[in-house]
Subunit: 347 residues, 2 copies
DNA sequence: CTGAAAGCGCTTACAG
DNA sequence: CTGAAAGCGCTTACAG
């Protein structure tokens, strides 16, 4: 027989420490261990036993098993956020806001779908099989949220078309779009274009629709062929703009609204390559007001949408629901505001 | 009493359908239901009962409860990916590769940490309390992976410093860095700079170290003050470059290597704003070869790193481990390759 | 304050 | 092929 290889991973994985082991170690029952481990011991466990159990927990390195606990309780302490598009920079900030509010009581897990896709019904059921304490659904398409019928608290985020019985936290993108159109009108533009995001979410639809409606109302034209869409990627947007600009120029278009700042970055980039002067030949504005928008060249006019606050508010609402408190307001809408910068300045 | 409001959410949430309910409905035992529901009925359940159970499952809308199942089995079908930085565009492609391989048997969940932070030990333990079938750890810092000691299969991704007993899938960024330096040398550059990422991961460290070493070997200088770092954000990189360029120019620097393409985009952007001609005054190269790099102006020379393949390989390795197959190769390294474009072309 | 016991929903030897 | 039963690790009335 050969000597065991000391560098090989040990073959006996560390045995899971259970409440029963802690109980034995401390000379108490598992009920007592449970109470102490979950911080519910006040007035129910003697000081002496609390100390003993704490020591045993430390000695053995015990951690409450999430699975056993979830089964007994009927629900886990996990909050699942379903998201169709994590590569959007907006998303990272949204998550940060959610995490701020969730703290360590709940555990945030992300279920990502393929870009632009809502999860299928089967996938969602499996998610629910994890017994999450709550669900956060980002930019769901309306069909999905309709058929969800989740038996757990749900808050939709960035879902202006969420049905009345589904709590939602939204950004007032319609007002933002109107502000953008009004800004263009004020600067004297007569013909405008719109570069949309390709994913069919309500928030993107609202931006486009409100922009078009406001433009018409303000006496500006959005000619046939002046609305186009591509993914939320700088490169895609640049290529798309390159493709459409010749026609837009022919049409006499002098301003373009963009569904996201990322789209606008692509336009700025390509405009420079094609020697289109911004804002002299073309005014450009976006949505999001990402940090970088302040320092593009020229700086980008944008509708400021507070992603972090959006995340914070959504998480707060969800906690209310989970903890059984009624919501003061089932649909919350956060205002955006137009930040005027060089990409739209009057000549 | 007032009539019930038909638009209000129903107050009795749909009762969870259990295997026992299905069993009763089909006139069999729960053991049989379990076998059929998990596709393990071949040769163990009569054709007749299989059909009955399937019908009952469909009738009642039964879905196997993940929590109960996990507890009985000792492990869930969840795979948790721990990631410090989801806003990197590279990451979305990595995820896509992982998802391709995981299919529907396993459920991928992301545990995100604050940007640049590895999860704490307590957080990780809670993650393990979910009894994941396996863990994928992206760009871990060495301390974290050392103290993990997970009782589940783990594969580290993009972790060149993973200890020998932790399976890892890496990109050969050191070779990429050497290729980049050699490319600069071949073009006649004598003094170079390096724009690094600020997060202290091994992959970023390797890029920088290998670049510096190769530069020295090839007779190029990387002067004092010619290495600086910032977050993986275009805007940050642009600002950083603006800050350092005056000094770099004084030093006679004519080429800058960037830790990621995103950094390089920032440099390109700012260079144009500052009327620094690329590549005439300054050659620029990055890592990642993101899709957009082919269409920047000028197009960006970059080390192509295949994020999707990285994800696919990591997921394949993890599945091997989970399914009890030994790994043919515990550490896999995928080669990158230099893509030469206009941002470094000889004058 | 304490512990024995039931129960959460499932899976898997086991005996038939 | 089939079902009764044990067991996964925990929580929570309940009786004391």
């Amino acid at each position: 027989m050969s000597a065991p290889d000391p560098t090989a991973p040990s073959t006996t994985p560390p045995r899971r420490v259970t409440a029963a082991m802690v109980a034995q170690h401390a000379g108490v029952s598992t009920a007592t261990v449970s109470l102490v481990a979950n911080g519910k011991s006040a007035g129910r466990v003697s000081e002496r036993n609390v100390i003993r159990v704490r020591e045993a927990i430390a000695d053995l390195g015990y951690v409450v098993d999430g699975i056993g606990s979830s089964l007994a309780r009927g629900v886990s302490s996990t909050i699942i956020m379903v998201a169709p598009d994590i590569s959007n920079p907006f998303f990272a900030r949204l998550i940060a806001g959610v995490r701020q509010v969730l703290g360590s009581e709940y555990q945030l897990l992300l279920a990502v779908t393929d870009p632009g896709q809502a999860p299928g019904i089967a996938e969602t059921r499996r998610l629910l099989g994890l017994r999450p304490a709550g669900l956060l659904i980002d930019a769901p398409n309306p069909r999905f949220i309709g058929e969800l019928g989740a038996p757990v608290p749900v808050v939709a985020v960035d879902a202006p078309d969420a049905p009345g019985n589904v709590p939602a936290v939204n950004l007032d993108v319609a007002q933002g779009a109107r502000d953008m159109a009004a800004h263009f009108a004020r600067l004297g533009h007569r013909k405008v274009a719109y570069l949309d995001a390709i994913n069919d979410t309500a928030t993107m639809r609202q931006r486009r629709t409100a922009f078009a409606a406001a433009a018409a109302e303000l006496g500006m034209q959005l000619p046939e062929g002046a609305v186009t869409s591509c993914t939320i990627e700088l490169g895609q947007a640049a290529r798309h703009f390159a493709l459409h600009w010749p026609r837009w120029r022919e049409l006499g278009i002098t301003a373009v609204g963009c569904a996201t700042d990322t789209h606008a970055y692509g336009v700025l980039q390509e405009a420079r390559a094609a020697a289109v002067r911004v804002p002299e030949d073309l005014a450009v504005a976006g949505f999001d007001d990402l940090p970088y928008s302040a320092t593009t060249n020229p700086p980008l006019t944008s509708i400021n949408l507070d992603a972090t606050e959006l995340g914070r508010t959504a998480a707060t609402q969800l906690r209310q629901l989970i903890e059984g408190h009624p919501l003061e307001q089932s649909h919350v809408t956060l205002a955006g505001r137009l930040i005027e910068r060089g990409s739209t300045l009057r000549l």
